[in-house]
Symmetry: C2
Subunit: 384 residues, 2 copies
C-alpha cells in the first residue's frame, strides 16, 4: 500500500438551499476549517485547484477569484470539472501534482452556489450534461435517466420501490444527526412511498436536492503530512473511468460499468478488496444510485444489493456502513462541493472524529463519486 500522499485537512460549509453570502465567502468557510484542521497557514499551500461546474455562477474562471480571496496568490490555480464528480477528480489531480514532485501541499476546493439560478433553469442545464445533439433535445433530465436505471434493475432483479424507500429512510436517519446537512428530518417508508412521483418509479424522496455549499481538502506529500497537526489519512487507491455520454452506447443499465472499472483500479492499487472496506460514501444522487453502487463496488453480487439494505447491513453496526453522514439525499448536492464532502466524511471516520456518525474502529474507507448519468466515475480508497 503506497503512503506517498495524504489528506491532512478537511473542511466543509454547512450545505443549504440558499447561502446568503457570495461564492468567495462560502468557499472561505470550508477553506478556513481545512487550514485550521491541518495546522498550516495559506502560505504553506503550493497550489490550489477549484472543482466546480460552471453553469450556475456569473463569475467566469472562479479559480482566480478564489485564490485571491483566500490569499493563495502567486501559487498556481485552475478549475477542474467533471460535473458532479469534479471534487474527486480534483483529488486525483492533486495527488498527481504532489506525487510528480511539482508541489508539496495542494488545496482542493469544491463549490457550487446553485441558488444563483432558478430550479427550472438548473434542471435544463443539468439536462445539457447529456448529449445536446442526440439526447437533451428530447427532454431527458436527471430524474428520468435514473428512473430508467431503476426500471431496468426492478425488471431484472425484482428490486422494489420499498427497497429504494429503505435507502432514503437510512439517509434521513443520519441526516438528522449531521449538522452540515440540508435535510434533518427523519422519514418513514410510508412517507417515502406516498410522496409525489417525479419520474416513475422515483418519487420526491428518492431524489437528492440542489444545494449551495463548499468543501476543501488539503493534500500533502509524506514529509509534510508527518508535520501536520491532524492524523494523516493516506490515499491508498485511485480509480477513474468514463462511459459514452449517450446512454445508447452503454452495455447495461442495471449498474454503472464506469464504477466497476474505477473500483477495480482502486482496489488493485491499494491491494485491497471490497471486504476490507470499513465505511463507504457513495454517490446517492438518487436512491437507485446507492443500490447500484452496492453492487458495482462489490459489496453485494449484482442484483443482491437490496438484501444489504433490507437487512440493515449498510447502517452503522452492519457489514458495510454506507453514507452514514446522510449522503447526497440528506446533505444536499452542491455539485462541485460533493466529492470533497464525501472525502471529508471518510477522513473524519478514519481519524475517529465522526462523532455520532462514527463507525467504530474504521481503518479503511472508500469514496465513489459519479459525474452526469454515469459518464464519469471516481473511486478513492483511503486508509490510516
Amino acid at each position: 500500500m503506497p503512503k506517498d500522499v495524504a489528506i491532512i485537512g478537511v473542511g466543509q460549509s454547512a450545505f443549504s438551499r440558499k447561502y446568503s453570502g457570495s461564492v468567495r465567502e462560502m468557499v472561505f468557510e470550508a477553506f478556513a476549517e481545512a487550514v485550521r484542521d491541518a495546522g498550516i497557514t495559506p502560505k504553506d499551500i503550493d497550489a490550489s485547484l477549484v472543482c466546480s461546474a460552471p453553469e450556475y455562477d456569473k463569475q467566469r474562471s472562479p479559480a482566480g477569484l478564489i485564490a485571491e480571496y483566500l490569499g493563495l496568490n502567486p501559487q498556481p490555480t485552475f478549475v477542474l470539472e467533471n460535473i458532479c464528480a469534479s471534487g474527486t477528480s480534483g483529488v486525483r489531480v492533486a495527488y498527481s501534482l504532489i506525487k510528480a514532485g511539482l508541489h508539496d501541499i495542494v488545496a482542493v476546493i469544491g463549490f457550487q452556489k446553485m441558488s444563483e439560478i432558478s430550479s427550472a433553469e438548473s434542471q435544463e442545464r443539468m439536462g445539457r450534461g447529456a448529449d445536446i445533439m442526440w439526447e437533451a433535445p428530447f427532454g431527458t433530465m436527471m430524474p428520468a435517466y435514473y428512473a430508467m436505471h431503476a426500471q431496468v434493475h426492478f425488471a431484472r432483479y425484482n428490486t422494489t420501490e420499498e427497497d429504494l424507500a429503505l435507502i432514503r429512510v437510512k439517509a434521513s436517519k443520519y441526516g438528522a444527526i449531521n449538522d452540515r446537512a440540508v435535510f434533518r428530518k427523519e422519514l418513514t417508508v410510508e412517507q417515502c412511498l406516498s410522496a409525489g412521483v417525479v419520474s416513475s418509479p422515483l418519487k420526491v424522496y428518492d431524489c437528492c436536492a440542489n444545494a449551495d455549499g463548499a468543501s476543501c481538502l488539503i493534500l500533502a506529500n509524506a514529509a509534510r503530512a508527518k508535520e501536520a497537526s491532524s492524523q494523516p489519512v493516506w490515499i491508498l487507491g485511485l480509480g477513474a473511468a468514463s462511459a459514452t455520454m449517450n446512454l445508447t452506447g452503454r452495455q447495461f443499465l442495471d449498474g454503472l460499468q464506469v464504477t466497476r472499472l474505477a473500483a477495480r483500479q482502486a482496489y488493485r492499487m491499494a491491494g485491497l478488496s471490497p471486504r476490507d472496506v470499513d465505511v463507504a460514501e457513495v454517490h446517492d444522487c438518487f436512491t437507485i444510485a446507492e443500490l447500484m453502487a452496492y453492487e458495482d463496488l462489490g459489496f453485494a453480487e449484482p442484483g443482491r444489493g437490496k438484501e444489504l439494505i433490507r437487512e440493515g447491513q449498510t447502517y452503522i453496526g452492519g457489514k458495510i456502513p454506507v453514507n452514514v453522514d446522510g449522503g447526497l439525499l440528506s446533505k444536499g448536492h452542491p455539485i462541485g462541493a460533493t466529492g470533497g464532502s464525501q472525502v471529508r466524511t471518510i477522513v473524519l471516520q478514519l481519524r475517529g472524529e465522526a462523532g455520532p456518525m462514527q463507525v467504530p474502529g474504521a481503518e479503511v474507507g472508500l469514496v465513489q463519486n459519479i459525474g452526469g448519468v454515469g459518464i464519469y466515475s471516481n473511486v478513492i480508497i483511503l486508509g490510516r
Copy 2:
C-alpha cells in the same frame, strides 16, 4: 535536465472565424492528426483531458462528449480551465498524471468554438473573466485592460505605438506563410498605425481575434516515448503562477509578475537560462503582451523589449525568434486551443519540421501562455 515525459504527437485544426461543423468534428481534426503523428491508436491513450472555457458552447461537460466521439472511453477524462491558459495547464496536469505513474499516455485536447455566440456576447463574457463584483460592472473588457498595460509601459519606458505596430507586422509576415492561421495578409506599419482605435493606444491590428479551432497534444512517459514514430520532444521545465484577479492588487502594470515567476520556475527546473532558448511562442493576445513577454521572460531587460523588435531580433535569424507562426495575432485565439497550438509550433520547430517557419538548428524552445489579464501564467521549456 529531466527526460521523464515527452510530447510524441501534435495536431491542430485550421483556425477560422467560423467552423462549419460541430465541436466534436472540429476536435476530431486535431486529434486525428496528433494520433497519426505519434504513430499510435486511440486505444493506446490512457486518459484525456479537455482544455476549454465553458462559456461559448451549449454542451455542458464536453469532456464526456469528446471522449465518446474520439473512442477514448472507458479511460478517464475531465475538463480543465484557466481561460486562455487552459491548454498549457493541461500540459502541466498531463505531465503530473504521467510522472505520478497513473497513466502512460495522455491526450491534451483544447478547443473553442467562439462563433457559437455573438461577438458582443463574447466580449461581455470575457469581461466576466475579471472580478464580477468589483471590476466587470464598470465595463472593463480585455482591450481596455491591456491598453492600461500599454499606457503604463509607454509612460515608464518611452515605448511607442510604432513599436507595437512592428510586432503586428512581424506576426502578419509569419501568418502569411502559416496555412492554419486566420489572417494571411501581410500588413505594413502604416496600416497598423492608421487602423481604428479600440482602446487607446491599442488599435484594431494590435488585437488578436476570436476564432474557432482545436489542438491536440499526445504526452507519454519515457518508455512509450521511445516507441513513438515521431521524435520525442521532452518537457524540460514547467512553471505556473497566479495573480490577483483584481488589477488593483498588482504591484506593477508594465509587465506581468505571473510570467516572471513562472519563467523563473521553468528555467530552474530545466537548468537553463533565457540565453539558451532558440525559439519562443508567447501569448500575444495584444501586441503589448508580446512586448511585455520579451522582458518578463528575460529576453530583454525591463523597458528594453522594444529594442528587440526594432532591431528585428525576434524574427527568424535574430537573437530570439518569437511567434514565427504568426502568434495569436495572426493565427486567431480560440481560447482553449491556443496553448496547445503554441506547444505544437515549438514541437515542430524542435523536430525541424516547421517548414518555411523553421528556425535553423532549434534545440530548446519556450512557450508562455496567459489566462485572463495576467491572472494565470504558464511557462513550458521543451527540448530535443
